[in-house]
């Protein structure tokens, strides 16, 4: 029952978000969410690309969970991949909340982050950014309004999951790899991690071919089909830079009777990938814990706004930090499912794993 309730509420939130985006998107007004109980004067909001993808839907839910825990007004702003709309919605919400806004934003594109941070500072709100920002934009240069930037380090993560793939087929042979959109930072990092892992096998694992499938399941399906023709049984494993593409590759393998015989790995930790691990078809994935980033991106600025912490006195490792990716494999999947991530909103940096590095 409890689960039903959350599902329904998420759906209602999404419906309103979608309706708002559709009806009011053109004028750039965000759709107001009903306040659950108004115990604080701060308005909380998560801005994200689209609730159509599981990662962002969970990210939005994380924010909702935190807002509920303090009884604050909470809104979800959806960019639908449009930077202009994303920024316009944020400006409108800043105006409406009179600057008393705590914003947790996954900018549509890196340059957007600067504009958003400047707008929030001007209005006197607080902002946390996720994943995308220019390398020279730092929270400490916008004290105290730019609270923090959170990300996940794609290089060690991809390296770790690639090693799980090698283990799954015995550590020797050829693999094929599906990459994301070539210019995306996560796509570049994950490719680098894969290259590192391959280099460390001293030639035992060979990268037969690398193709960008643009994070698209269908493209991954088509490319994998062609690979099976080109390389045949030389393909011992498939590396996918995200689970969506991994699922496309898996279905192509299934069409050729190879599901479960040729292992696949992905990144993101979506439900379908976790189920495929249980079925022995995926060798592993990395779960990002968007519930945590969705909630903590509001909890940290809220702690500052209410005087619990003074963010300007925190070190850089608390202003620009990586979250923890959880490696899920056949061995750990049962444990992963039975212990869903528990989030303590008072443990602000408990899951942070080091300061963000910039690779030239």
């Amino acid at each position: 029952m409890a689960e039903m309730l959350t599902k329904n509420q998420t759906r209602r939130t999404v419906l309103k978000g979608a309706a708002g985006a559709a009806a009011l998107g053109a004028v750039g007004l965000p759709f107001p969410m009903p306040a659950i109980a108004q115990e604080t004067t701060w308005t909380l909001a998560n801005s994200l690309r689209s609730v159509a993808n599981p990662y962002h839907a969970t990210f939005a839910k994380g924010g909702e969970d935190f807002a509920k825990s303090i009884g604050a007004k909470y809104e979800v702003l959806v960019t639908e991949g449009n930077s202009e709309k994303g920024i316009a919605d944020i400006k409108a919400l800043l105006q409406r909340s009179g600057g008393k806004l705590i914003l947790n934003v996954d900018p549509n594109d890196s340059p957007d982050a600067r504009v958003i941070v400047e707008e929030v500072k001007k209005a006197g709100g607080f902002v946390v950014t996720q994943w995308n920002k220019p390398a020279d934009l730092h929270p400490w240069d916008f004290d105290p309004n730019y609270i923090a930037h959170m990300s996940f380090d794609g290089v060690p993560t991809a390296e770790a999951i690639a090693n799980e793939l090698f283990k799954a087929f015995g550590g020797e042979g050829g693999i094929v790899a599906l990459g994301g959109i070539l210019s995306n930072v996560p796509a570049i990092e994950r490719k680098l991690g894969l290259d590192n892992a391959i280099a460390k096998t001293n030639g035992k694992v060979e990268l037969l071919d690398f193709q960008p499938a643009d994070w698209n399941e269908q493209k991954a399906f088509e490319i994998t089909q062609a690979w099976l023709t080109r390389f045949g049984d030389k393909v011992k494993g498939v590396f996918a830079a995200n689970d969506g593409m991994g699922m496309g590759a898996l279905e192509a393998l299934r069409q050729n009777g190879l599901a479960g015989k040729v292992p696949v790995v992905g990144i993101d930790g979506i439900d379908a990938a976790v189920a495929a691990i249980e079925a022995g078809e995926f060798a592993g994935t990395v779960a990002w814990d968007p519930l945590w980033t969705g909630g903590m991106g509001l909890a940290i600025p809220y702690a500052h706004a209410t005087g619990k912490i003074d963010i300007t006195k925190e070190g850089h490792e608390h202003r620009e930090f990586y979250g923890t990716g959880i490696i899920v494999t056949k061995e750990s999947v049962a444990d992963f499912k039975s212990n869903p991530s528990k989030i303590d909103f008072n443990d602000l940096w408990g899951k942070a794993t080091g300061q963000i590095q910039y690779r030239g």
């Binding site: 939130t13 999404v14 159509a52 193709q211 269908q218 080109r230």
Partner: protein, 326 residues
């Protein structure tokens, strides 16, 4: 293949008629020279399988384009129908499980959305470009709203087997279904009044109206027919990947329109055929498959695709009838 060429076709007209086929054959030979696996039976079956869903989508898209209109709603309609189909068979999201009936259900839903497209376009005199663009967005929005960002996982293996995975004579079920869809489209085009009216409307709507053709009704009906093909494509997509979600048809629309045009159906209407689109789909699929077989750099692949589209249209399209090119 029906290309509405004036009578007494010169050799150049004959050539135009067969240009898409020549492009396809040329491509196959070229790729086969680089990688002999290309002509292997298993690769041919893989390409047929990859082509099955685009073929079904293109049957609908071709009718609309023959009429001189455009339908940008395909991705949205497919998304809704795929989500509906996956929610109607045994799944982890709803308790409903009507098994095989989910396929006609998806087709009917697709058809109804198509009729709505046509009705709005004709009755409110809104260009098909805008009507269908809006409907496409609305479709993805509705699919998103129903699911709230999650995916529906299909646990009905029969559904997946009969629509996609199962094989008869080593050829996957989806290929047979696509072949039937092509057959149905061909019959509609060649053997029904709707098919003939379609060309008349696409060639010159005013004349068609004067000749007593019920233009408005035909237009609405054609949008409905296109919708049924998208509905079927939705059910096939869900069966192919075993899940239903709002982004299931991502990037399908542009590929479909490309295939229709590369096949030699003119965007201006009245010229082309569903069989042209079959050739067009195979040109696109063979090219994608071939470039990976030949090991062409990913950066170069998109450029080659773009050039091929322009070249194919230049070869196939009879521009002598066009007063202006816009």
């Amino acid at each position: 293949m029906k290309i509405a060429a004036p009578a007494g076709g010169t050799w150049i007209k004959q050539w135009r008629r067969w240009a898409p086929v020549a492009v396809l054959v040329g491509l196959c030979i070229l790729i086969g020279l680089f990688n002999s696996n290309f002509f292997g039976l298993s690769n041919l079956i893989r390409m047929l399988n990859t082509a099955s869903i685009p073929l079904v989508i293109c049957m609908g898209a071709t009718f609309i384009i023959l009429m001189g209109s455009i339908d940008l709603s395909a991705e949205g309609v497919i998304a809704i129908c795929a989500v509906a189909a996956s929610m109607l068979v045994a799944n982890d999201f709803t308790g409903v499980a009507i098994g095989p009936l989910s396929v006609p259900a998806a087709i009917v839903i697709g058809g109804l959305i198509g009729l709505l497209n046509g009705y709005i376009h004709v009755k409110f005199r809104i260009p098909s470009f805008m009507t269908t663009l809006g409907m496409g967005f609305a479709g993805i929005g509705v699919a998103t709203a129903i699911l709230g960002g999650v995916m529906v996982r299909i646990s009905d293996n029969e559904f997946r087997n009969y629509l996609s995975l199962g094989r008869f004579l080593d050829i996957p079920a989806a290929v047979y279904i696509a072949a039937i869809a092509v057959g149905v489209a061909w019959v509609i085009q060649e053997r029904t009044r709707i098919g003939r009216w379609l060309y008349a409307i696409g060639t010159d709507e005013a004349t068609a109206r004067n000749a007593g053709i019920p233009v408005d009704r035909t237009r609405i009906l054609i949008f409905g027919i296109a919708g049924t093909f998208y509905g079927l494509a939705g059910a096939l997509s869900a069966a192919q990947i075993g899940r239903g979600h709002a982004l299931i048809s991502q990037d399908r629309l542009f590929a479909a329109i490309t295939a229709v045009v590369v096949g030699g159906t003119a965007l201006s209407g009245g010229v082309g055929s569903v069989l042209n689109s079959v050739i067009g789909v195979f040109i696109v699929i063979v090219l994608t498959n071939g470039m990976i077989l030949m090991g062409i750099e990913p950066y170069v692949q998109k450029g080659v695709q773009g050039l091929l589209i322009i070249a194919a249209v230049a070869l196939a399209l009879d521009r002598s009838r066009l007063d202006v090119v816009k």
